[in-house]
Amino acid sequence: MQTTHPQAFDRDDVLFAPVLRTGRGFYAAVAVLLAVAAWGAYAYTTQLRYGLGVTGLNRPVAWGFYIVNFVFFIGISHAGTLISAILRLCNAEWRRPITRAAETITVLVLFFGLGSIIIDLGRPDRLFYVLQYGRLQSPLLWDVTSITTYLTASTLYLYMPLIPDLALLRDRARGWRRQLYTAISLGWRGTPEQHRRLERGIAVMAVLVIPIAVSVHTVVSWVFSMTLQPMWKSTIFGPYFVTGAIFSGMAALIIAMAAVRRAYHLENYLKPVHFNSLALLLLTMSLLWFYFTFAEHLTAYYGGELAEGAVLFAKVTGPYAPEFWAMVVLNLVIPLAIMANRRTRTVAGIVTASASVLVGMWLERYLIVVPTLANPRLPYARGLYFPTWVEWSITAGAFALFILLYMVFTKLFPIISIWEVREGRELGIQEAYERIESYLPGPGVGAGGPIALR
C-alpha cells in the first residue's frame, strides 16, 4: 500500500501504541474487573449448586434480571455491526475511526446475551437438548438460531476489516504476538487483488448483516410477543425492540469511544465531530424510541382491557412507577436536554447523555419483563420481584467481564481501523472534492456523476 502523507504515518503511531505498550492503569483496571467478574462467577456457582432458588425469582415473576440482561445485551449488540454496516453502505466517511470499536462491541456482547440465557436456565447441563430435541415452533429456538447466525456474521464482519491491520501489526510486533498476527493475517500483502476481494467481502457482509441484525432483535421481541401475556402481545414489539436496541447500542458505542479516546489519547482520531454525528443519531433514536413507547402504552391505556390496564398502571402509577418515570427521564428528557442544545452537545455532554440512555434502556427492558409477569392475566398470583445478591453479582460480573474483554481486545488489536483511516485520508479529500463538485454550479457534471464514474 502506498502512502502519500508521511507525517500521517507518524501520527498513526498512537493507534499502534495500545497494542504494543501497556500501562499501569490498565493492570489496575484489569484487577478490579477481574475481581468483580470472579465474584459474579462465584455467585453463579452458588446458583448452580442450590438451584435458581437463590435468586429472587418466583411465581409469577419467573423471569428477572437474567432475561433483562439478555435483552439488554442483545440490544447493545446493535451498536456495532448494524451501525457500522449502515454507515459503510451509506459511505459515511466519518465512520472510519469508529467502525471497529462498534463491531467489537457486537461480537463480545453477543456472548453475554447468550450467556445470560444460559445463566437463566434451570438445567444448563441440558443445554444441548435444544439441538437434540429442538422444536422449531419455539421462539426460543428462533432466538438461538438468529443469534448464532448474527454472531457468526458479526465475527466475520469484524475480522475481515481487521486483516490489513493484522498485517501491519505483524510487521511491528515480535515474539508470540508476531506469530499470532502472522497466523491470523492470512498472508495479507495488501495487493490490489487482495484489496478488491476484501472490499467485496466487506460489502457483501455489510448487506447481509443488516437483515440479520434486524431479525435478531425482532426475534428477541417475539419471545415475548408470541405469548398471550398482557402488554407483551404486541405487534409493534419487533420494531420497538430494534429501535431500542439501536438506541442503547449507540449509547454504548459513544461511551466505548469516549473511553478509548481518553485512555489511548485518540483525540485526533475520535473528534468532536464524530461524537456530534452520533449524538444527532442518538437524539433521533431517542425520539423514535419515545414514539414507540408512547404508542405502546397509549394503545394499552385506550383499549382499557383489564389485564393490560393492570400492567400499565403497575408501571405508571403502581409499584414500578419509580423505575418507569426514571426510564422516561433517562431515555428522553436528559438526552433531549443535553443534545438538542448545541452548547451542551459537547463530548462530555454526549457521554453523559449516553450513560443516561444506557441505564434508561436497561430499565426499559426491566419494565418490559417484570411488571407483566407480576400482573398476570388471571389475578390469582400477584407478585413482586426483588433480586438477590446472586442476581446483582452475576449482573455486575457480566458487565465487568464485558468491559474486561473489550479492554483486552484493545490490547491485541487496534481499536481504530488503521488502514481504513489511512484510506479515508486519501479517498476522503478526493471524494469530498468530487462531491462538492457534483452540486456546485458548473457544466457537465450531474448529480452522482463523479461517484458513478469512480
Binding site: 442450590y50 435458581l52 432458588g53 443445554l127 421462539p139 426460543l140 398471550l228
Partner: protein
C-alpha cells in the same frame, strides 16, 4: 380416540381443598418452607382460588379450583424449545421432566399460570420420603412441572384396557386423583367426545364456560357457573 376433559361445578365446590392435597400426594409435589412459600414458590398443581366481591353485608365469595386447563391449543407446548411440554394424541398435556432445560418459557406462555418451577431440589424429611408415590418420579431441581391430568393413571387404565383388548372407557376407568377425592362431587371427568359421559353432557350445559375462552387456547377444563 378419547378427548379427556374435566368439568368443575362451581355451584358444588365448597373450597375444601381436598383436590389440592390429594394432588400433592398423588404426584409427589414437594412442600416448601414457610419462607419459600412467602416468596411465591408454593407448589400446588391444583389450587383453589377464592374471590370475594361486594361490601359488607352484601358480600359474595366464590371458590375456583384451578388445575391445568389442558388446552387443546396449548401455548405452553408451542414455545417449549426442547419438546418437553407435549400434547398426547388423546389431548392431555404433560411434561417430560427428564428433558426440560428449565427455561420457563412455558411458564410465561401459559395464560393460566399453572406451571410450577422447581426453584431448588425438593427435600423430604427422611420419614416423609417413605410415603412417596412410586408411580411418579421425584423432580430434580431446575425443571418445570404441572398438572398432567394424572397421566400415570391414564397409562395405568390404558394398560388394563389393552390387556382386555379394548379402549379405555369414557368414564370411570381413568379418574384423576382430585376428581376421585372431591367430597362435593364438584369435579366430573370423562371423554368429552363421548356423548354418553356426564362430563361431555355438562360441558354442553348452558352453565358451562371456560376460563379466558377468548384467548383461543380451547381448554378441556369446563366450569359450570353457580345457580
Amino acid at each position: 380416540m378419547a378427548r379427556w376433559g374435566m368439568v368443575i361445578d362451581l355451584d358444588r365446590c365448597t373450597g375444601c381443598q381436598a383436590c389440592v392435597v390429594t394432588c400433592k400426594a398423588e404426584n409427589n409435589v414437594p412442600v416448601v418452607t414457610p419462607r419459600e412459600a412467602q416468596a411465591g414458590r408454593l407448589m400446588l398443581w391444583m389450587t383453589v382460588i377464592p374471590e370475594v366481591e361486594g361490601e359488607f353485608p352484601r358480600v359474595r365469595a366464590r371458590f375456583t379450583p384451578r388445575p391445568c386447563m389442558q388446552c387443546d391449543h396449548p401455548p405452553c407446548v408451542k414455545v417449549c424449545p426442547v419438546q418437553a411440554m407435549t400434547k398426547s394424541p388423546e389431548g392431555t398435556v404433560s411434561h417430560v421432566f427428564a428433558r426440560c432445560i428449565g427455561c420457563r418459557f412455558c411458564v410465561q406462555a401459559c395464560p393460566y399460570g399453572v406451571t410450577y418451577f422447581n426453584w431448588q431440589a425438593p427435600t423430604w424429611p427422611k420419614d416423609l420420603r417413605e410415603s412417596l408415590n412410586p408411580d411418579f418420579a421425584i423432580r430434580p431441581t431446575g425443571v418445570v412441572e404441572m398438572c398432567d391430568f394424572c397421566h400415570h393413571r391414564l397409562q395405568h387404565a390404558r394398560e388394563e384396557a389393552r390387556a382386555e383388548e379394548r379402549d379405555v372407557r369414557g368414564e370411570g376407568e381413568y379418574v384423576p386423583a382430585c376428581v376421585q377425592a372431591c367430597p362435593a362431587r364438584a369435579l366430573i371427568f370423562g371423554d368429552l367426545d363421548d356423548p354418553n359421559t356426564a362430563a361431555s353432557n355438562l360441558a354442553h350445559s348452558p352453565r358451562a364456560f371456560r376460563m379466558l375462552e377468548d384467548l383461543g387456547t380451547s381448554p378441556k377444563v369446563y366450569y359450570l357457573k353457580e345457580g
